[in-house]
């Protein structure tokens, strides 16, 4: 596989069949197609002034020491050069396909486009057997500069809605067709999903030495799948469905995938700090936030590797990957602009309806993960109160579905449930405001949760009031529970709420309050289980991990991982990984893997750990009914899976025992050698210790253990010796 992803470019350009009648063959200046001649042409390319002149133009007998270039420079400049014709020709692709009747019209339109670059010596439109054009054409210019200029200016030229030119130099053609079909042999990018036991993978990055390791979390413990030094320069990112591993380089981003993690695609963008994927991983956004960078943001097509659109840096960018927010099916992407939401569609990569959605004092917005809906809120502005709005994208319109006006708002946090069933908004409000206008001071803070029931008619809205400071909250990804952690520092309470459904809608039931010192709640991807974790904050090193089953609200286990910096569930919800990375702790960088019940199954120290991430999985192909069916037939499945686990375990332990037996045998040999030596030296040892055999002290003792007399001192005196 290529170690350096950025040595050549243009891998993905389209290829054309070379038509027999293409102008390069008819051209009268053309020398011919023999390889040898091409070779010599290339030599001519690096023309020196005292280059060996061609026999046609010099006459040694004439006795002139001056080369032709000096004698008649004007004439020599126009000297026909054999390779010239190739450089003068451009190939224009994506022309309209027309029949012979319309061909003349097309020719007129196209020549109008190209006439401004210079005289078009020759044009050629290949025809199929019915006399229709094939959708591309060849144009020959008088010189190379014109051709280059034409390529530069008309590549990507939009003739009309359906036809955007793709223009290349004919001389590039050979180079482009010679690009090895790298991307072809990456194999099945989804092969990792066919693992029979759905074993999850994870990647670990360490700094110094820069090393990325990919593990497969098998039942008997993680095994290394791949390990490479300097795979990426600082960090790595998995694509949202886990297909690609993105590595960061000075020149851009490279994607790796398939069975052997070969390079799949690369995106040349200098100084990329952050990347962001669209949810279906069709598009990639690379962010290179250098000041005054006209191409700070580039949106790429992941599969073809082509640049779709670029954006300059603007003041709304805050460090981080999520500058653009993507709708759930990659249809739209939007950013917050100075006067509202700038929404682009991924067909044209232009603003939807050619203008932004004007929303004065827009503070934040978030897309629903399952619908073309978005939620936004506008901040208080003078006498205008804050507003919370739920809106739906309908073609070029943004229709409000539900809204709520809120007074005395400091801040809102919009949070969608993973299945899109709920939108939970945490609202921080004040009762008193003082201080200056630009630097207000708030007092008497109140915390509210506004909960939108998305799946019910008219989208009913609940309000939940919380008295204490809310540290964090988390919604059950597939379910109806809400965990809120309130309080300050280590005196925190964890409260579980259940959001009422159907007829009970509007009622929020408090399930349980647990007085636990934690900072974050992390739900299992399928709900029910939650890990409450105390991350390292300020002076407190944290490290508590509390595993809770919310079906019966019981604490399953309490565990510890001091200086904890991150907790992540594996995408199938079977394991939890906790890690300590170098940003959070000075030493003991490590990760631990726990079962969902909180039993530790693996622990590894990784010096200077940068990141630990599970490889994400695409959503399950099972429908909700099928999942229900599996749950119903658990009695059938459990014994089968248990048996499978047993087989895997015994296989693994057999391997380990084999290994141990080997080690034991080797060591035994060493011991035997030593025993022999000791036997030979026995007499010498006895001699050294005045004839006493001290080798077998304890063997003798064990035979008459009962008769040993032990004396103890009852009183002790310090005796000073005076010499």
């Amino acid at each position: 596989m290529p170690e350096r992803p950025f040595e050549s470019d243009d891998a993905g350009k389209q290829q054309h069949e070379l038509d027999e009648n293409s102008p390069s063959h008819n051209n009268e200046h053309s020398g011919g197609e023999d390889d040898d001649e091409h070779q010599s042409e290339e030599d001519d390319d690096q023309e020196d002034d005292n280059d060996e002149p061609t026999p046609d133009f010099t006459d040694d007998d004439y006795g002139s020491d001056f080369p032709d270039d000096v004698l008649c420079p004007e004439l020599m400049a126009e000297r026909p050069q054999e390779h010239e014709s190739l450089n003068n020709i451009i190939v224009v692709d994506n022309l309209p396909k027309v029949d012979s009747v319309k061909l003349e019209k097309l020719k007129q339109v196209i020549s109008k486009v190209y006439s401004k670059f210079g005289i078009c010596r020759n044009e050629y439109y290949p025809l199929d057997k019915d006399g229709n054009t094939k959708g591309y054409g060849f144009f020959e210019f008088q010189n190379e500069q014109m051709a280059i200029e034409a390529v530069k200016q008309t590549d990507g030229y939009r003739l009309d809605k359906n036809h955007t030119f793709s223009v290349n130099l004919m001389s590039d053609f050979e180079r482009l067709t010679q690009v090895p079909p790298e991307s072809a042999d990456t194999g099945n990018l989804l092969s990792w999903l066919s693992e029979p036991d759905a074993v999850d993978q994870f990647a670990v990055q360490s700094d110094e030495p820069k090393k990325t390791t990919i593990f497969s979390n098998a039942l008997s413990g993680p095994t290394i799948l791949d390990e490479r030094n300097k795979w990426t320069e600082n960090n790595f990112v998995w694509s949202p469905k886990g297909t690609y591993l993105a590595s960061f380089h000075e020149q851009g981003i490279a994607f790796w995938g398939g069975k052997e993690f070969r390079q799949v695609q690369r995106f040349a963008h200098r100084g990329v700090n952050y990347i962001d994927f669209s949810p279906c991983e069709r598009y990639l956004v690379t962010i290179s936030p250098r000041p005054n960078n006209p191409e700070a943001f580039i949106v790429w097509d992941v599969i073809t590797g082509t640049k779709k659109r670029s954006f300059p840096l603007d003041q709304h960018f805050s460090q981080g990957p999520s500058y653009f927010k993507w709708s759930f099916q990659d249809q739209y992407f939007a950013k917050q602009g100075p006067d509202g939401i700038y929404m682009y569609d991924t067909e044209s990569f232009q603003l939807v309806d050619k203008k932004p959605f004007k929303i004065p004092s827009l503070a934040d917005f978030q897309w629903s993960p399952t619908d073309n809906r978005l939620a936004y809120w506008t901040a208080e502005d003078g006498n205008v109160p804050a507003r919370l709005v739920l809106a739906e994208v309908n073609g070029t319109r943004l229709d409000e579905i539900r809204s709520k006006t809120l007074f005395n708002v400091i801040d809102c946090r919009l949070c969608w449930q993973k299945r899109g069933d709920y939108l939970v908004v945490k609202v921080d409000r004040y009762t008193k405001k003082s201080g200056e206008k630009n630097n207000p001071k708030y007092s008497g803070l109140i915390y509210n949760f506004e909960i939108f029931h998305m799946r019910e008619k008219n989208v009913p809205l609940d309000t939940l009031e919380v008295k204490e400071i809310v540290q964090s909250f988390a919604i059950e990804p597939a379910g109806h529970k809400l965990v809120v952690i309130t309080g300050e520092n280590l005196r925190t309470n964890v409260t579980f709420y259940k959001m009422g459904q159907g007829q009970k809608s509007g009622k929020i039931e408090t399930l349980k309050v647990m007085p636990l010192a934690v900072t974050t709640a992390i739900w299992a991807p399928n709900g029910q289980y939650v890990v409450l974790a105390a991350m390292k904050t300020g002076s407190s090193s944290g490290g508590q991990l509390i595993f809770v089953d919310t079906a019966d609200m019981s604490v399953m286990t309490k565990q510890e991982h001091p200086d904890l910096s991150d907790v992540e569930w594996c995408p199938t919800g079977r394991y939890v990984a906790s890690s300590v990375n170098l940003w959070n702790a000075k030493r003991d960088h490590s990760f631990k893997i726990w079962t969902f019940q909180g039993n530790m199954i693996f622990e590894k120290t990784v010096d200077r750990l940068v990141a630990f991430h599970w490889r994400p999985r695409p959503p399950s192909l099972l429908t909700e009914d099928m999942v229900k069916d599996v749950r119903k037939n658990r009695n059938v499945w459990t014994p089968r899976l248990d048996q499978r686990d047993r087989i895997l375990r015994t296989g693994e332990s057999a391997k380990q025992q084999e290994q141990r037996r080997k080690q034991l045998d080797e060591f035994q040999k060493l011991k035997e050698k030593n025993t022999k030596r000791l036997a030979i030296q026995k007499q010498q040892r006895i001699d050294l210790r005045r004839g006493v055999d001290t080798d077998s002290l304890f063997d003798q003792q064990s035979s008459n253990v009962g008769e040993e007399l032990v004396e103890f001192l009852i009183k002790s005196e310090e005796v000073e010796h005076k010499p």
């Binding site: 090193s541 060493l670 000791l678 040892r685 210790r689 005045r690 103890f712 000073e720 010796h721």
Partner: protein
């Protein structure tokens, strides 16, 4: 497994050692006064008064009649174990770091530090001779291009000596030729301790580089490595089972910033052959400086920076336990 706590040292422990039978436990610390204890119940039998500085190490001969101690007061002293009487004083120029009895118990080896412009030297002395006669052999370690010796012991049949150095080197010296015969550099940082197994066939070294390593004592061939994430100050090989016990922890200098939990001051049990850790014993609230296993292998003692010696008698669970293979 309730430990017996020995609380006589006012400062941190430097060395503990059982006699051959294991009924006595000798301890030395930075508080100048080495002590001797009954290992069975932790009762103090007496102390050896006379040193005027940290006692870095001690050793007892095979018939438990003599004790030798090396101290930062630049003396090595020889004591009568039973009476606590000082039998001899060997005066050196700089602090003494290492001392050890030969197999026959007639000779001692000791070294001094290379400070104050003096070289690090190794001395061999017959304890039956008068101290005025001077050492029977004297090797200038610094002159040989080696770093300061930090630990040392006698090899098979008193034919050679092995020393550990503060750059992680391990050197074997032939006694007749009085010269180095083998030199290895198994560790990247200071060797803190060297201990042999019961029949003097293996050697275990402990190092600040967070590992302990097992060697063949004659060939210095590296056999096994036991890896931890903290400096290892001491390691001992069990005479009964295929186990080794490692003691160490976050360095004393950094301890004030470290909680007990992250300092990892536990005694750690590794399988001798599989190099796998299978148990830990908590207790000390500072790093463990020295570890010794009772010659019957049924108990062990650890001495820590916290000034405590803890004697642990193993439960039957441990004695019955073995890693499956």
């Amino acid at each position: 497994m309730k430990p017996i706590l020995l609380q006589a040292h006012e400062r941190s422990l430097t060395k503990i050692r059982y006699n051959r039978e294991g009924d006595l436990l000798f301890s030395s610390g930075k508080d100048k006064i080495p002590s001797v204890w009954y290992s069975i119940n932790g009762e103090r039998l007496g102390s050896y008064n006379g040193h005027n500085g940290t006692v870095w190490t001690l050793d007892v001969n095979w018939d438990s009649t003599s004790l030798v101690t090396a101290s930062a007061d630049s003396t090595v002293r020889l004591w009568d174990v039973q009476t606590g009487r000082e039998r001899n004083v060997y005066q050196l120029d700089t602090p003494c770091r290492v001392c050890a009895f030969s197999y026959d118990g007639n000779r001692i080896l000791y070294t001094n530090d290379d400070v104050m412009g003096k070289p690090c030297e190794m001395y061999l002395t017959d304890i039956r001779a008068s101290p005025n006669e001077g050492p029977s052999a004297r090797i200038n370690i610094s002159q040989k291009g080696l770093r300061k010796a930090t630990s040392g012991l006698w090899g098979t049949l008193d034919e050679f000596i092995v020393t550990g150095h503060d750059n992680g080197e391990l050197v074997q010296w032939d006694i007749k030729a009085m010269d180095e015969v083998r030199k290895e550099k198994p560790h990247s940082a200071q060797i803190m301790d060297l201990q042999a197994n019961k029949d003097l066939t293996f050697l275990i070294s402990s190092s600040k580089d967070c590992t302990a390593k097992l060697f063949d004592i004659e060939t210095l061939e590296h056999v096994k490595t036991y890896t931890t994430e903290r400096p290892v100050n001491s390691a001992a090989i069990s005479p009964l089972k295929d186990h080794v016990i490692l003691g160490g922890g976050q360095e004393a200098i950094e301890v004030t910033q470290t909680s007990v939990q992250t300092g990892k001051f536990e005694a750690r049990f590794f399988h001798l052959i599989f190099e796998e850790e299978f148990a830990r014993v908590k207790g000390h609230f500072g790093p463990i400086n020295t570890i010794a296993i009772h010659p019957d292998g049924k108990s062990y003692a650890s001495g820590g920076e916290d000034g405590l010696v803890r004697i642990h008698y193993f439960d039957n669970d441990y004695l019955d336990y073995d890693i499956a293979y």
